[in-house]
């Protein structure tokens, strides 16, 4: 029987409960064991195994061999890699319609290609658990109808993106994590990402029975997605609201994005019982979305071949020299157009990083009938889509991506 080295403690990516591997539950396989006291009648029973076969597989109470595992507290399924690999949770935060889902889809799709970072492996920990990301990818990047206009739907506040479970007398709702195994050099990690609706990060939306943003308590880096086209000053520089909307920008200024960042930082401090004066326990990465629309406003202009260092492809993360130059250019852009956001980020984390990206690469078109945004899948050419995530990973695991740490 092959030996497996287990982690000393694992954190459930669904409910963020910490427990040793010995307490992990198994998912029963026998059909007669339908119904779980925590997950409901439609799920198989979860149990703490006491019988194993010669190969170490658990045997359920009715004698069936079991291989799937679940959390001790919420009973939601965990990939077996969670037992063996250290986990890195990245929180992707942003206001509604800032481009979180597009970034997640574009980043995961490009990371699979192996072209993003040299020598980096990126595979699904369990494809059945990552159905959300796979669906997002297939609608934009793997479409079977590349000439049919499409667009990712707005992330809903409930429904299939969330799982519910019963804890005590109350019903809890948790976001579905997207789990990937990343490897580089001698290091392997379990990467955990969430696609929250932007509404969940708005001030006052953190409900006790809906702990959908509680991953902030366990995350090791915060990627704050900013949509500059939601700021009136940027809109003015781009020629007005109609011009921005025609290029696929949001063109709405109702939401102050700096307040969302403050709210996220406050939740981190609250969930980790930190003082208001304590520095945040992780790096903030400002991911400036939709760079194809506003990129020409920076000085120098941001392009895929920024700084004259043409990358192999537009999805490849540029080297640290280019990233630093881009950071400086974007800092100047934010100082001129969104100074309060820049000041907030600097106050929360003086060493914050700025990384621009474009999830689609080309502006989507707006239909005349219902003003809906669509793009042909064959026109999607993301630029640096995974760069914010790679930079955040580098900050969380410097040994893994040492070349992306600014000395």
């Amino acid at each position: 029987m092959p030996l497996r080295t287990l982690v000393s403690s694992l954190t459930c990516p669904h409910c963020w409960a910490e427990f040793p591997p010995v307490q992990i539950r198994y998912v029963s396989e026998h059909e007669a064991l339908r119904g779980d006291p925590i997950l409901g009648e439609s799920e198989q029973l979860r149990f703490l195994p006491s019988r194993f076969d010669a190969r170490g597989r658990a045997i359920d109470p009715l004698g069936a061999l079991c291989s799937r595992m679940a959390c001790k507290q919420c009973h939601l399924e965990l990939p077996s890699a969670a037992l063996e690999l250290p986990q890195t949770i990245l929180s992707i935060v942003g206001a509604p319609a800032c481009g979180k889902s597009v970034m997640l889809a574009a980043a995961s799709f490009s990371l699979r290609s192996g072209l993003v970072v040299d020598g980096m492996d990126f595979i699904d920990a369990d494809p059945t658990l990552n159905d959300l990301t796979l669906e997002l990818e297939s609608s934009l990047f793997r479409s079977s109808t590349p000439d049919r206009p499409t667009m990712i739907a707005k992330t809903d506040l409930s429904g299939r993106l969330y799982r519910s479970f019963q804890l005590g007398d109350s019903q809890w709702i948790a976001p579905k994590p997207q789990l990937f195994v990343i490897g580089r050099r001698a290091h392997r990690q379990l990467l955990c990402l969430y696609d929250n609706a932007g509404e969940h990060f708005l001030p006052g939306r953190d409900a006790a029975h809906e702990p959908v943003t509680r991953h902030l308590a366990a995350s090791r880096a915060l990627v704050f997605v900013v949509d500059p086209t939601q700021d009136q000053r940027v809109i003015d520089r781009l020629g007005g609201r109609d011009a921005v909307r025609a290029q696929g920008g949001a063109g709405s200024t109702e939401q102050r994005q700096d307040l969302v960042l403050i709210e996220a930082a406050n939740r981190v401090r609250r969930l980790r019982a930190m003082s208001a004066f304590d520095p945040l326990p992780f790096r903030i990465v400002l991911a400036l979305a939709k760079a194809d629309i506003w990129g020409h406003l920076t000085a120098p202009e941001i392009r895929a071949d920024f700084g004259g260092a043409a990358a192999r492809t537009s999805v490849t993360v540029p080297d640290i020299r280019v990233l630093s130059a881009v950071h400086t250019a974007c800092e100047g852009f934010l100082a001129a157009s969104m100074p309060e956001l820049l000041a907030t980020a600097r106050a929360l984390d003086p060493k914050f990083r700025i990384v621009p990206f474009s999830g689609l690469g080309n502006p989507p078109s707006r239909s005349d009938s219902d003003r809906g945004l669509t793009i042909l899948p064959r026109d999607v050419r993301p630029v640096w889509p995974a760069a914010p995530i790679v930079v955040a990973l580098a900050e969380a695991n410097p040994a893994m991506f040492s070349e992306y740490i600014d000395a």
């Binding site: 609608s139 990712i152 409930s158 299939r160 509404e199 409900a207 709405s252 945004l373």
Partner: protein
Amino acid sequence: MSMELIHTSVQRGIRGDNGFATACATRGLPPQLESVLAELSSYDFDTSRSVGGDVVEWAHRIVKSGSKAHTILSRVAPCGSDWSGRPNRVAHHLVVEASERAPAGPAWALSAFAGFATAVPVVEERASGPVIPSASCGPRRPAAWESAGFDGGWAGIVACTLLDHPSSTCFVVLPDEMDCLGLVSDVLALIPEERRWFITFSTRPQRMPASVTCQLRFVRAGASGINRILGEPGARRIVVARGQSPEPSAAVDAARAGETVQPSIQRPVRTYVAPVVRNTPQVQDAPPRPAAAPPKVGRSMQRASATAAGTASPAVSMSYPGVDSSGAVHAAPRSSGAPIGGLRTDIPGVPALAWGLFIYSAVAVLIAFVLGILSLL
């Protein structure tokens, strides 16, 4: 009075938030109920992923919020693009009071209510709720089923299943997406009026919170993941196909003839009779029965025996509090009270068999004890 809530993507909702938010609500809507209704507002745009039998979700659900159960009528449907250019949906929920339930049933109320929001409404808090239409309708031929190409008998099968298994989820598997509200209306028309509001349904079911009841769910054959949903333990599944007739039954005949469908399963005769622990007027008028010989038991048992002593009269049997008002047939009361080993055995909650076992085991222990002493000597 009724209340309503409209949940959609707006730039600024009535609570000041943007994105998916409450765009419209009746003043006084409980916040706890508002959060459950917001949770019921999701819509899956991906046709390859959704399992629903209709593009529009028409639903009648019972939502438990706090200590109260609310009757909710809902319509959730796509409504073009929102302010950010992405596909939007609008969910309109009506909270219906008991006095506003139309005898014609929830499906009729959904089809008759003309005020459902089909686009993003003006953001406002409304002072009063909408007026829920009311009417009654008798049984009729299932015209919607027949016009969809199905045998009308299927409506009878569905109605009969709902009546026979009120606590089971019932999936109706349709061959493709269609207007399901007409199908539900036809089914409910075949059900007795007093039962119609007990039937909860959804034409495009999604994951539902545990506090929500939804019995009848219309799904589409061939949808991804449908087998897992249909495999829910205890769920009833009715696969409907064009050109196929259901097995002959009374429900099928009733549906084809446009008559009320009766449940095919008779409720089991209730044999349990709750014991009476208080005297009734008949008992008080009756002469007291002589008490049994005082047993050598504790004081509490004597008190219980004395209480029960005068209640074993057959005249009392029909006034037992366990008899329900539904006219269910009850068995004659058990003639308990016969003394076993000198003890009265009609103490509430202690059956005669248990008493017998207790006495015989006590005697056995005593004999064993005596034998043990003798063997020691």
